[in-house]
Symmetry: D2
Subunit: 333 residues, 4 copies
């Protein structure tokens, strides 16, 4: 008899850490162009939040030798769920033990994906309360929309590259209760190339895509949410004018129906700006939708966008040796 | 010791029935102007769905002497949850027993709100499968976007008028596990004037507002989702050109941050077209946000819209005697 | 035999001066919230431009005892057209003689409307050239889109209040070659209540509306152009959050099909933010469209917006005695 | 001494004829998907108009062996301007004589471009008057927005391919008074690769681009105007779902700042859907903006779109031998 999969144990993606070899440049991007607000600094890290993020911070920028994903934090639906998921992760051999947390983050249980991406579960978090001058008359908004840059409203999702997509999918389903909403399969080899997972009705809060270079544990992108399609067009314009390289978009993926714009922040991490809420999956017994890699055009883009093969399917952070130059202008490569 | 509130027992609003004294007019509105597709007819009822609705139908239009809400259906998260909620409703004295369901709807458990609004819970539903010519290459889309009218994507939420808001709120929280996201309180009398409830991360799937006429059991509005703010502007234009009365909007409520457009379909029911996804509430321990009726402007509209006092706060369906003429042009009242 | 009306003599609205009793507050609004850039200061005046305005400035803010319109400048289509129009204005008795111009503005010919609004014609202007750090890679854009606030792209049009609409219309048609695109007539008295005029294919570059208080020479509003409907919604949100009073909108007028948002800048002048390009009138023999005041709803708004009678049709700047309090919150009037 | 260039002689692009080898397919595209309305049929031609087009028709679809541009009609600003331009064209050796016109089109003067594109000038046109059931309460709108498809509002512009761009530019400037707003130059050979021309404040009503295949007299695309950026995203979605091939977009060109979506109608002609009004050029002494072909990325797209080299720069209609298969799915070429 099989054990039923856990459900309703994780609530949402709560915070992410990005490593950057250009902290000043990354900060400029996130605060001046994207208008995120700094809430704390600690040694080599700066803590930032979007104006509707509920907690102390959603993004921690940390100076490092290489770009990449630091710690990624998921909030559970209860204190008890945290204990249960910690036990399940230990059973699966992926637990890395309890931590004391971080600024705004209480005790966490750390774990790793099969590829070694660092993650943690948390229940106790510090909710953000705006100082009077930043309080919004829109009461569900944790702070006023900034007048600086083109501010996204919240952290939305993460996209990981992995050496074995199925292994990651199964771990997230079985140990943590993620549902797999969509997947891409190469039926010539019966291999899963990508999966889109969620713990709630969002079309995805995490994706895992095959790292075609065979590298382990890299970040494909971190996404921030506008929720307004026009803002992706506005963001593309600002990126073009202020020297931020655009990889693809604005357009809408068939997969997740997400309105995307991919850019590279100055530290080299790929950032997605997300212009709608994508498909919302309300069905409690939703079956995974399968895309065939051989008939996949609409999955990549509903409009005419092309995702550049030389970067989109191979570049992640940390960049493989020599990949950094993919981000340079063609004339400088 | 208090019993913990149920959680994760209901999945979403699955279907709604509207009663209409002008079936032909209502059908024109929903199929010609809103581009919904008919999936079945049965005696005095026509079954309709939006192009991303997951099931056989989301709207059942039924000819009747008066406009109003017929049966409203909620889908549970499992077969077991259905049994548990049926028991809880029976305990609360609100259960009305099991039914054989309807076209596309299996066995349901019927119940009533304290005011007598008719509702049902269901687990077994018929998922919609498009015929080949309506199949979309966007695989999460259950059928192609229609070329007719300005089609909303799915049924979104319901808004009830009630004689006692708090009684309704407590029933939905305690028997069914709804969370109350926001509420409006008249602190001069400590009365709840309105509540916005959800069973998932949507800012609301149901609202209950005080019926200032003291009438029981009426419908304020049923809402359909575009998810694209521009489409509310487009819809207003079409309504203006094709003789559908606009009550208010397009604008955005501070409450729920929902992009609204209120119109009256030819049968007299108020319909909301919903142009964004509103605020999404991810926090598992989200505290209810309270608006003070005395300082409520931003709650009603972020922009300059006014919700007309002569209709918005008093008109519901079935209309009270004499209220129908509120929907006529001023010159004809 | 009638003299043919002049055509193609004026090119466009080039600059406007706003008087403000709260220069600091007005500056905050135009530079911090609307992101306009300062190009010069001179005694009590600050010169500002939008990022696509072609010349040295489009807006001159001048400290004054009362809000209102200062000098309004139209650019002619040639040096010869300037001379011809100056002569025509002198013949009409409205010329006020040549001036030495202003910062960025060469020699002008000053004139008055029948009500005494101050205007000038100019040919010689200083075209704006951005310093290197503000140069845009979009070559038709005179400077980068600012990262501050929600920046409109250019000055769009002016709306005057007048004691006699027809007298103003005839002067603008006959002396300057404006075409009257639309008008509103009160057929009970055969009076023109409003006219919308243009010297190019824009639906209007100037409107003149009857001042129902009988006052002469006031400003109804000055409009700045976004050209993107969503930006009016964004602007409403920022105004709501940052304490700028919204009068009406976002919605779309039937007249001109213009997407409007009306707000009051801190100095008390009404400002319109213009979210589309409205109807463009390409026909060289376009006939004036006439709206009947008795059947005028769609003219005011295509959606559900109401233009508040207590301000929209009576408030202008300078405000009449006692009118300033119309702009206060209801509780403070 | 040079003769001054004519100005203000042409008003706008009034009508265009498209040739199609698949009249039924092309009609489906323009009427079912784009919602244009048929106003007349005559032998092998169908006359169509957008809902804000001012005249009898803006598009004439004519069955033919090959796709391509038939007759293109420009309206002059007066009857006298028509005579003057006819004389100038005759002097330039491009006149082809007076015609009796067409349905809804009076006497015209026909001419050719240096490559032989067929064009005509017209003053007398039949203005469209809607039958009562199609009359819009928005009085500047010539007919109600259709409920069918995703209707553009009017014919916007034409883009020609030519064997010698400069020759075409000079003819349009000198004989007809077009202004050249922008151009792209290959400075390695001092060759103009593309020019964007206008007779009014639009950023362009006609473009001429170098036909890199050396072919003469072909059509690059004909454009229809939405004026609302979101509608280009909606149109891409419909094209994707209904089997219309998308070439590129939605995105925004740096040149003209036009929001583009390029698709191929079933007859093989490239159609642009135009989602904004682009840059409007108000300056009467506007200097041509020059883009360097070697630094041209932003000119092509502000976002991440790529214009496919295998079609965008070489495919036109009539297609060169073998080019038709460029429009087939990759698997079928």
């Amino acid at each position: 008899m099989t054990t039923p999969l856990p459900r309703f144990e994780l609530a949402h993606l709560a915070h992410a850490e990005l490593l950057t070899p250009d902290l000043e440049g990354s900060l400029w991007f996130f605060t001046e162009l994207l208008g995120m607000r700094e809430t704390a600094r600690d040694r080599d890290s700066v803590y930032l939040r979007c104006y509707e993020d509920p907690y102390h911070h959603s993004l921690k920028l940390t100076a490092a030798d290489q770009a990449g994903l630091g710690m990624l934090g998921w909030r559970t639906t209860s204190a008890e769920a945290l204990e249960r998921r910690a036990a399940a992760l230990d059973t699966a051999g992926l637990g890395r033990g309890w931590t004391k947390g971080d600024l705004g983050v209480g005790r966490t249980f750390a774990f790793e994906t099969p590829d070694g991406h660092a993650m943690e579960l948390v229940w106790e978090v510090e909710k953000y309360t705006a100082p009077p001058e930043l309080r919004s008359p829109i009461l569900t908004r944790r702070s006023k929309r900034p007048l600086q840059g083109l501010p996204p409203r919240r952290l939305d999702h993460v996209n990981l590259m992995a050496s074995d997509v199925t292994a990651h999918k199964e771990m997230f389903e079985q140990a943590l209760g993620f549902g797999t909403r969509e997947r891409v399969v190469d039926f010539t080899t019966d291999t899963e190339i990508g999966v889109w997972l969620s713990v709630n009705i969002l079309g995805h809060e995490m994706a895992v895509m095959l790292d075609q270079t065979g590298t382990r544990g890299r970040l494909h992108h971190l996404a921030f949410w506008y929720g307004v399609p026009q803002h992706n067009t506005d963001a593309a314009e600002l990126c073009r004018e202020y020297g931020i390289r655009i990889e693809a978009g604005p357009d809408v993926h068939g997969i997740t129906q997400g309105a995307f714009l991919y850019v590279f922040e100055p530290g080299g991490n790929r950032i997605e700006l997300f212009g709608n809420s994508g498909i919302l999956q309300f069905e409690p017994d939703h079956e995974t939708v399968t895309w065939d890699l051989a008939d996949f055009d609409t999955g990549l883009a509903i409009g005419g966008a092309t995702l550049p093969a030389e970067t989109y399917f191979v570049y992640g952070t940390p960049a493989n040796p020599g990949q950094e130059k993919l981000l340079l202008p063609a004339s400088a490569r």
